[in-house]
Symmetry: C2
Subunit: 154 residues, 2 copies
């Protein structure tokens, strides 16, 4: 899995949160280790299928961070993760993946997106099950941490 | 979303668990309500993309049930959900979706599968975010409950 394929997802996440929530996340160190798991309180997940490849993406947020994103985007801050928050996580997952899809299409890589699924639950972990390589990358802010994880197999 | 499209997934789940784990699950009542959420301790999720449709599937297990499935399939019963269990959930998700894909292909419906993602976390909930209709169906056994949820939009 080359960097050409990964960077559009990372750029798209930074771009969506900056544009939509006026929030600048600080990218951490990418991790390729197999036993490293994204951990958080709410996650958006989506499948991707292309002519030459298939894969999956997840974006996992700590509760404090997603509630602040909700506040910055919609001007309301629920006390905990409710249906409005999970709707927002689904939309963010679509936006980030759609943004990466456009960037990759310009480079000649094509894939279609499935529909997003949102998981809620204190301190859950995500494992992408694929023979392909996966990359997990943390993004930090004063409000908490997000993790993006991308996995493709050919 | 017609029953032609759903039944193959339900049949495939029953068939996989009967064949692989010698376990007969009892189908419950399907639920189309929007506010009904699958709840459990470990879930396998997969995206699906076809020429006319896209969607998502999840299978959620209570811990006691998946540990017994592990026991029946592999002759070992871990004390809690570990990486072997999440690997098994990923494989079951692939098998159930692949079985349904074959049944649907015979009827002229085609879709491709993304790679599965497995979520672990006590008592998490799953929400499929799509404009399309979704169906959630419980399956019970003396070891615990599983939920399958399928969502398609055209």
């Amino acid at each position: 899995m080359n960097v050409d394929f990964i960077n559009p997802f990372l750029d798209s996440l930074l771009n969506v949160l900056k544009t939509m929530a006026n929030l600048e996340l600080k990218p951490g160190k990418p991790n390729l280790k197999k036993d490293n798991l994204a951990k958080g309180d709410v996650s958006g997940l989506i499948g991707m299928v292309g002519p030459q490849t298939k894969g999956s993406l997840s974006i996992t947020f700590e509760e404090s961070l997603i509630l602040e994103i909700m506040n910055k985007m919609l001007g309301e801050k629920p006390e905990s993760i409710d249906e409005e928050v999970t709707d927002l996580v689904g939309e963010l997952t679509n936006m980030v993946t759609g943004g990466a899809k456009n960037l990759l299409s310009d480079k000649g890589y094509e894939f279609d997106m499935a529909t997003p699924i949102v998981v809620s639950g204190k301190n859950h972990t995500i494992a992408h099950k694929s023979d392909g390589q996966k990359i997990i990358m943390p993004f930090s802010s004063i409000y908490g941490t997000a993790y993006i994880e991308i996995c493709f197999e050919s």
